[in-house]
């Protein structure tokens, strides 16, 4: 499923990275700890987090993640937004809490298994 389809199905709002929404996404990863994502995030993962600071973009870029979804209507900090735009990392916002959003993503067929 492409990122664009997911955005459409779950009503996510796009804050940055419009040009990179064609990418196929099969897996999700949920964490609010940078070190965890650095260690365990896999290329192509859609990252669900509450963290809004710019380090998230750096981590997403470094690990080749498909994008970042901020939950609970958290808005990215200005420098996070700027960095995401510059690096063309999709930065999305959902008003749902993490559990709910992940549940729905899982329902759409995304898996969290680390195969």
């Amino acid at each position: 499923m492409t990122l664009a389809e997911i955005i459409d199905r779950l009503g996510l709002q796009v804050r940055a990275g419009d040009a990179a929404l064609r990418r196929d996404v099969e897996r999700g990863y949920a964490s609010d700890l940078m070190s965890d994502v650095i260690a365990n995030g896999l290329e192509g993962d859609l990252w669900i987090t509450l963290q809004t600071h710019q380090n998230t973009v750096a981590v997403a870029s470094m690990k080749g993640l498909a994008g970042i979804v901020l939950v609970n209507s958290r808005e990215p900090e200005p420098d996070t937004l700027e960095k995401a735009r510059r690096e063309s990392i999709p930065l999305l916002v959902s008003e749902l809490p993490a559990f709910e959003l992940i549940g729905r993503l899982h329902g759409l067929g995304l898996t969290g298994l680390r195969a």
């Binding site: 999700g28 509450l50 559990f99 992940i102 898996t111």
Partner: protein
């Protein structure tokens, strides 16, 4: 949902070592997935299961403050002995699953568990 059921769905194992009173076990009414304790603190977490990748004692203290039903550590991260000890003292039930946060949430959601009320609400609001 009973904790036993959660344990089965997540293929999880209990992390406590002492015998905890059976009547201390509570029904899991909702779920909360976060690694940020500030987030957990302002969610109406009473009776919730907290899924988290953090295993320090602050997680247990947070559980005590918001009256969580239980905590499940994801990614197979076993808590430090001090964390377990504190949890046992406070009667907080701990599970460990090898699943990732994403997969654990997905499976519980599929079985009907829903999110705890989010932090957008003011905690001054009466329940």
């Amino acid at each position: 949902m009973r904790l036993e059921e959660v344990q089965r769905i997540l293929e999880a194992r209990p992390a406590w070592t002492v015998r905890l009173p059976r009547n201390g076990e509570r029904e899991v009414v909702s779920c909360l997935a976060t690694d940020l304790m500030s987030d957990a603190l302002t969610t109406t977490g009473e009776g919730s299961l907290l899924l988290t990748g953090l295993t320090n004692s602050q997680v247990i203290r947070t559980a005590g403050i918001v009256d969580l039903a239980a905590i499940c550590f994801v990614r197979g991260k076993s808590p430090q002995p001090e964390t377990v000890e504190l949890a046992e003292k406070m009667g907080v039930r701990l599970l460990v699953t090898d699943l990732s946060m994403f997969e654990a949430c997905g499976r519980l959601y599929e079985k009907g568990l829903r999110a705890a009320v989010g932090d957008e609400g003011d905690c001054r609001t009466r329940e």
